[in-house]
């Protein structure tokens, strides 16, 4: 049934977007983490989406869902701040913070939440259309 797979399509997209939101939350939570004893601070993570066909027929391009293909780490060096009194400072007195850019993450968060809302709205519309289809032919 054609309309039924809308829930698969939009559901997979909402799930992918919530995973993106989750990664943004991790990044924001770790925005001020300093490097541990190994000198490695938290690295910002980012998800990459990929199309996933979810139709009942193989190769049906009209039912294209989404899945998270990879979660990649940002390898740019972390922010280094000169703070010799900090217990996490290295031999030169520098503290390495994570390379999370909070502004970037906030923008990412807004984008993810808007996309999530879009998909929920699509599902609501599809649901109300299906319910009306179920009442087809009934007088009223």
């Amino acid at each position: 049934m054609g309309m039924m797979s809308i829930f698969n399509v939009s559901g997979s997209a909402a799930s992918a977007q919530s995973q993106r939101l989750n990664v943004v939350a991790s990044n924001l939570a770790n925005a001020d983490t300093v490097a541990g004893p190994d000198g490695q601070a938290y690295k910002a993570r980012q998800v990459t989406f990929q199309t996933q066909l979810v139709g009942e027929l193989a190769n049906d391009p009209t039912a294209a869902g989404v899945r998270v293909s990879t979660v990649s780490e940002d390898n740019t060096p972390g922010r280094r701040v000169h703070d010799p009194k900090n217990p996490a400072a290295d031999a030169e007195g520098y503290v390495t913070y994570s390379n999370v850019n909070p502004v970037e993450e906030m923008v990412n968060m807004i984008s993810a939440s808007r996309s999530y809302q879009n998909n929920i709205e699509v599902m609501n519309t599809a649901k109300s259309l299906l319910l009306k289809t179920l009442q087809m032919g009934q007088s009223g």
Partner: protein, 154 residues
């Protein structure tokens, strides 16, 4: 006699199936708004409906077979089938020749990740398709009510 009663509904049934196909296609576009490299698709509704209606026999007997088909089924009739010459080849349903009424949307703005979904356009198409789907439903309901009142004869 009975198929003549149901035959009048066939055209609207076709339209309803195509509307639901288009609804799903637009939902796919909206779902893939953030997928890198995704190319938005669009269903040429007029062409698709014309193709579907031309397959309806004049007495409406072919309607049932068509009503259960999907957009990809339209390509299977006259279109050339893809030859599977190796074990890994996929059956080319949905991409066979030019008969499939699926087109590619042209991106209004270029995008760094080669995604051509225009969310404004997709939302507008989605709302448009929703209203037209409901309209088709009402046409069907109206025809059913007309037939019922003819049967009861009051």
């Amino acid at each position: 006699m009975l198929d003549r009663l149901a035959g009048t509904l066939d055209f609207q049934a076709q339209a309803l199936v195509l509307r639901s196909e288009r609804q799903r296609l637009i939902a796919s576009n909206i779902a893939n708004a953030d997928t890198p490299g995704y190319v938005a698709r669009e269903l040429d509704f007029a062409t698709a409906l014309r193709q579907a209606a031309s397959r309806l026999a004049p007495d409406g007997t072919a309607g049932n077979r068509l009503a259960t088909g999907s957009a990809t089924a339209f390509a299977t009739g006259a279109a050339t089938a893809l030859a599977a010459t190796q074990a890994g080849h996929l059956a080319g349903a949905g991409s066979t020749g030019g008969a499939a009424p699926l087109t590619y949307a042209v991106a209004a703005q270029t995008n760094l990740d080669r995604n051509s979904v225009d969310m404004d356009r997709e939302r507008a198409s989605f709302a448009d398709n929703t209203v037209k789907y409901e309209a088709t439903l009402r046409f069907i309901n109206g025809q059913v009510r007309t037939m019922l009142s003819a049967i009861t004869g009051q």
